[in-house]
Amino acid sequence: MNIDAQDLKRTPLYNEHVKLGGKMVPFAGYEMPVQYSGLREEHLAVRSGVGIFDVSHMGEFMVTGHEAEALVSWICSNAVHKIDDFQAQYNCMPNKDGGIVDDLIVYRFNPNKYMLVVNASNEEKDWKWINDRIEEKGFDCQIENQSEHMSLIAVQGPTASDLVQKLTDTDCSAIKFYHFAVGTVAGVEDVIISGTGYTGSGGFELYVKNADAVKVWNALLQEGESMGIRPCGLGARDTLRLEKGYCLYGNDIDDTTSPLEAGLGWITKFSEPFVHMEYHQKLKEDGVKRKLVGFEMIDKGIPRQLYVVVNEEGEKIGEVTSGTQSPSLNKAIGMAYVQPEYSKAGTEIYIQIRNKTLKAEVAKIPFL
């Protein structure tokens, strides 16, 4: 697909990115900053202090009505009924072929009100998928696409909580991991302060109305200046998540990968029925044919998506899904689907990088 610049959407923070020297690139139909000062510097700021990311391209669907919970439970693989009000849960939506429609975060406000946060690249597909399931089963609930009205700022890093606390009366220390509160941040009311993130360094994600995004963003930058805050782009977001072994839709998981193959068995619970769960139950009983593993390069080279993985005999045993030079570890790391017999940590595998076959070793994830 060839997307012309004029077809790309912009988040409410677009002008701020340009002012900050952000290098704007097309991503999931948006013009997004891939980096500002430099990927490595941004990455390390999040690991050691605090960084902020504009992730307003993410999609938000609000589900309300007395069968809101029934719908969300039906479309999601995890045990949605187990979470309480003001709690969030990582999930995936299984498709009819055993693959994944999308991975998402489910927020429960109350049993009659949920928010689903989905990948920007899948927003249209998800919207249709969920509406088709509502129609199919006749769930008594309403779904509203708020994506065009909501912005999302991720404040991440070991000092992120201190920073957000400076801007709110809500007790941030009381918001546990994968819980949330609704409060006032930087004078802006009704901000969803969510103890979630995609970096593995702790912090919050702040959902705000579009009209308030610039105010909150700039307040964070100003208040965070003395803490060495950095605005961070999608480049650092990707290296940060990869060091923690978090899946990226479109790379590590997609319509053809099972959550069980992707190491997402922990969010695939058969205690309550979900759509097309039979396939996954059978796969669990039969055993998967491939597994997503982490690996580190031993020979010098950087793995990239779609590079072929071979065994010592040179036979193809899998494919790389994500790869990068890790800024924290200063080594090349990646994730790949391999045949299960090659999935144990310490197993030697080989990655075909351009015209060479280079040695790597299966590693435990997270890498860090």
Binding site: L39, R40, D238, G301, T324
Partner: protein, 126 residues
Amino acid sequence: MNFPEDLKYTKEHEWIRVEGDVATVGVSDFAQGELGDVVFVEIETEGETLGKDEVFGTVEAVKTVSDLFMPLSGEVIEVNAELESNPEAVNTSPYEDGWMIKIRMSDSSELDSLMDVAAYKEMIGQ
């Protein structure tokens, strides 16, 4: 961004410094900025004679991998070995410490196909 006046440039964002029949090659300040943090420069063509536009190596940034093209035909007589341990020199010093190869030119008339600084700046909109 800095673009020295005494260098020649290519569409692939390489710079060329000519001294006698030897051309030193690297990537421009613009190119290093577009690449982002360079983490690996792989050049294994030392001693080989390659034609203009052939690939002589690869530069990898954290998120991208790009081929490096011969701006001129000739023999690759030297590779900057320092880049193996210090690839970030491509970012911090693109025209000095970040040089990549030296070519013994086989056809100096090819120099006419290279851009001067004004033409290069115009191409990248500077």
